[in-house]
């Protein structure tokens, strides 16, 4: 064993903090997971072969992002129902418990693993909470799949290049037991940047608007970095960051309009998308600009809430749009989801933009647990590294062996009231898919120093 303060190569480490390397983690994961389960074994009676397989879920189910979290939870629950109807996993029933982030998300994660006895976890809704929960997730040791999270840092493992997020104010926060089934900010912003380059000429006047916290700032940084990497000539005429959940964005919109942009790049989500869009319509913003982008604004829940207000011809994007992929798996998901929630007063009976990644995550766990032959964290993690899931609604999805990031595409569509959607409001037409791999992202982001996280 290398002495404390030195790494395996014998070089002195200046930091006193210590995160585990992958091999060390996998060795400890079994022990940690076993300890965690043993800790609650006395209460739960263990989680042996006769016990159901337990999935813990944690999303924002109250406040600003309630609808977003509720959509993910709904997709997870319907996926579990389908798996149980088909005989469960390895003949064992699957049980899911989804909780709110609340005011103590780390406590909730710990409780789900140590009290509920979750074998695997899904979540979360906030990038900040995810980064802050890293040490908790790593310590608990059970596999954790993100289904809704944007920040590229959390799946970046190259600490040599980008620095360790948990040790040296770096940007690489990749964890050995954490995976992500959705495409994320480094995908989204590439898609929008590529769309911009493909559809607009040099000299474009761009305004930015996004929520005033890490996600909004990161989206704007990545978008500009990709535009620079693609060699596009543009001018930033305004950049506005209203506070998260702001009820009045009119001053920000006025400022944008005063600077006469050609297009507006936004990174709003959930209620913020609704607020910005509806107040933008009232102020005539969309009549004065050629186009508006929104990283994860293309969500049926948003369009349903906006109703007739949603302007047509705008290019909002997302991680998933029902029916955009032409796969049987997608149609099956849409049908199952719609039929499960057709009489529900609170859930829109149409999958949200996190639906595909959440449904996929549950089925990936099924595939990994069946391949591993049990619920030992080490076995599941080993199976998930490089796992290919062919029946994902978004097509065939692979979890990268190193970064644990899925290679899912992003979609950019044109908002239209002629779209075939089962609610009163706009949908997406002329949908295009964008994908990017690590090497391409590295090349494009080289000058910015931003990590690809894929």
């Amino acid at each position: 064993m290398a002495p404390q303060g030195q790494d395996a190569s014998g070089e002195s480490r200046t930091g006193v903090t210590g995160s585990l390397d992958r091999r060390g983690f996998l060795a400890a994961a079994g022990a940690g997971g076993a300890t965690a389960l043993a800790g609650c074994g006395g209460i739960l009676g263990g989680n042996g072969e006769e016990e159901p397989i337990r999935i813990g879920g944690i999303y924002l189910l109250s406040g600003l992002a309630e609808q977003l979290g509720a959509g993910s939870a709904a997709a997870a629950e319907v996926a579990v129902d389908v798996i149980n109807e088909e005989g469960g996993i390895n003949g064992r029933d699957v049980e899911i418990e989804v909780r709110d982030h609340g005011d103590d998300p780390q406590g909730q994660i710990q409780s789900l693993v140590q009290e509920f006895g979750a074998d695997v976890m899904i979540g979360l809704t906030s990038s900040g909470v995810t980064l802050n929960s890293g040490p908790t997730i790593e310590s608990l040791g059970v596999p954790f799949t993100l289904t809704d999270i944007g920040t590229p840092y959390i799946t970046e493992h190259d600490t040599d290049t980008y620095g360790d997020y948990y040790e040296e104010d770096g940007l690489a926060a990749g964890l050995p037991n954490l995976f992500r089934s959705n495409s994320m900010t480094a995908h989204m912003t590439y898609g929008i940047a590529q769309y911009t380059v493909d559809n607009y000429s040099d000299g474009l006047r761009i305004a930015n608007a996004g929520p005033d916290y890490a996600y909004g700032q990161q989206c704007w940084e990545y978008y500009q970095a990709y535009l620079d990497g693609l060699g596009f000539d543009y001018e930033v005429v305004a950049s506005e960051f209203p506070s998260l959940g702001a009820s009045d964005m009119t001053p920000n919109i006025s400022n944008i309009m005063a600077n006469d942009p050609d297009v507006v790049f936004t990174s709003f989500w959930a209620n913020d998308t609704v607020t910005f869009t509806s107040q933008g319509v009232e102020q005539g913003l969309f009549e004065e600009i050629e186009d508006a982008f929104d990283t994860i604004g293309a969500d049926p829940v948003n369009f349903n809430t906006l109703g007739d207000t949603m302007p047509e011809g705008m290019h909002y994007s997302g991680w998933y749009w029902p029916g955009a992929y032409g796969t049987d798996a997608d149609q099956n998901f849409i049908d199952t989801y719609s039929s499960a929630y057709e009489d529900d007063d609170e859930i829109l009976a149409y999958p949200t933009f996190t639906g595909g990644s959440t449904w996929g995550a549950i089925h990936m766990y099924k595939q990994a647990i069946e391949a591993a032959g049990g619920t030992e964290p080490e076995g599941i993690i080993g199976e998930m590294e490089g796992l290919t899931f062919e029946d994902d609604p978004r097509g065939t999805i692979t979890l990268d062996e190193t970064s644990h990031q899925s290679d899912a595409s992003v979609i950019i569509g044109e908002s239209s009231h002629d779209a075939d959607v089962p609610y009163e409001g706009a949908g997406q037409v002329n949908i295009e898919e964008y994908t990017i791999d690590r090497q391409e992202a590295l090349d494009l982001l080289e000058e910015s120093g931003l990590p690809p996280g894929m």
Partner: protein
């Protein structure tokens, strides 16, 4: 023998006995509880210290601070920077070898308390010039200013202005996350803060909290503490007696801030991160207020009981999604009940229960089990009568008000 000496001696014996039982329970508890419950108990102990430190200012001195989270936050950020920057800069890894996480933790606690104390010196000096609601508002204002400093990373911007760093000091809304690392003590290796096996950090926190609580106990039982209570009861009279009220309040504010900083320095390594929303926002400042009001501000252990009640009620509420969705509502009702119907929070309720049990024992000695039953019946009847009278009184008052309004309207000309 002086008057009441026996009683005081007996009370002292009871206190020591109670303390010994409590200590034994706290030492044994983590070996029985699972990992999660031990972590919860660790957090509760830290909040016991925080709420008691807060109550030095509120219950003992009569100053309601609505910004005490600022001490948790400044101490927490100091801890995070000590772990991430200061200790590596001082070469703790090389100097202390396997025990460097322990040495770092000790340094972080000292630094956290020092910085919180410095903040308390300045903010306290300005705040104690005001009283009552104005004092609450100025502490709230200072705490939200600190919240914004961390959220907008003002420190990073200032340092960058002097050419130090890249402008990122507090990492904005995401805050700072860190891992305390593994201790290697004579070949025995363990993670300092390990949520799957939290024994080590539990006992470290227990020792620090016990020392902190003992010091607070000595403070409130000293002439300094008695002066605090005199100021709380009547500041003008205290001033007339020659006490420099503002100076005394300032000192109390500093002590309260220092011990709150100590609680913050313990809490943040357990949470493994510090961020503005969770640790500096005004809602975090409400926690010690609620704990103290629930527990009872006019007894030393009141805030401790409040912290215990608060933390475990929160835990129970989290088990039920419906309750969790409306947890503030559940707590609001609890707070209303405590404020309206308890003399001094949970502590007051427990004291009343103790008195009732004493009376019940007297009835038992005099009339046997039958005496206790009739005493219980009489208690229930009197409680019901009180409740009915309260409801009837309220309804009568409302009816009277409506009648008066109608009468006034009918008296209007035209």
């Amino acid at each position: 023998m002086s008057y009441g000496f026996r009683d005081r001696l007996r009370r002292t014996d009871d206190r020591w006995r109670g303390g010994a039982v409590l200590a034994a329970v706290l030492v044994v508890a983590p070996f029985i509880l699972g990992g999660f419950q031990t972590s919860l108990l660790t957090e509760t102990l830290i909040f016991v210290l925080f709420a008691t430190a807060f109550n030095l200012l509120y219950g003992y001195t009569g100053l309601l601070s609505f910004g005490h989270a600022m001490f948790i936050a400044v101490s927490g950020y100091t801890v995070a920077k000590t772990v991430g920057v200061l200790a590596p800069l001082l070469g703790f890894g090389d100097i202390f070898g396997g025990v460097s996480p322990l040495a770092t933790w000790a340094l972080a606690i000292v630094m956290g308390v020092i910085v919180a104390t410095i903040v308390a010196v300045f903010i306290g000096f300005l705040s104690v010039r005001l009283t009552e609601i104005y004092f609450a508002l100025i502490t709230l204002a200072f705490s939200m200013a600190i919240f914004v400093v961390f959220l907008q990373d003002t420190i990073g911007a200032i340092l960058a202005g002097f050419g130090i760093g890249d402008g990122n000091w507090s990492n904005g809304s995401d805050g700072l996350s860190f891992i305390m690392g593994d201790v290697n003590l004579f070949g025995w290796e363990w993670r300092l803060v390990d949520i799957t096996n939290p024994l080590a950090y539990y006992f470290l926190a227990l020792i620090v909290v016990a020392v902190g609580m003992y010091l607070l106990w000595r403070i409130v039982r000293s002439p300094f503490g008695a002066t605090c209570q005199a100021i709380r009861e009547n500041p003008e009279r205290a001033e007339a007696l020659g006490i420099n009220v503002s100076f005394h309040q300032w000192m109390t504010f500093i002590l309260s801030g220092a011990f709150s900083g100590l609680a913050g320095a313990l809490l943040i390594p357990l949470a493994t991160n510090v961020n503005p929303e969770s640790h500096a926002h005004w809602t975090s400042s409400a926690e010690p207020v609620i704990m103290t009001v629930i527990g009872g501000p006019y007894s030393f252990l009141g805030p401790a009981l409040g912290a215990l009640t608060y933390e475990y009620l929160r835990w129970i509420i989290r088990q039920f999604p419906l309750l969790e969705e409306y947890w503030q509502f559940s707590f609001g009702i609890l707070l209303l009940i405590v404020v309206m119907y308890f003399d001094n929070g949970v502590a007051g309720g427990l004291f009343r229960l103790r008195d009732w049990l004493g009376e019940a024992r007297t009835h038992y000695r005099r009339d046997g089990v039958g005496g206790v039953v009739s005493f219980l019946r009489a208690t229930i009847v009197s409680l019901l009568r009180w409740a009915v009278n309260a409801v009837v009184g309220w309804v009568r008052a409302q009816v009277r008000r409506v009648v008066n309004v109608m009468r006034r309207e009918s008296d209007l000309p035209g």
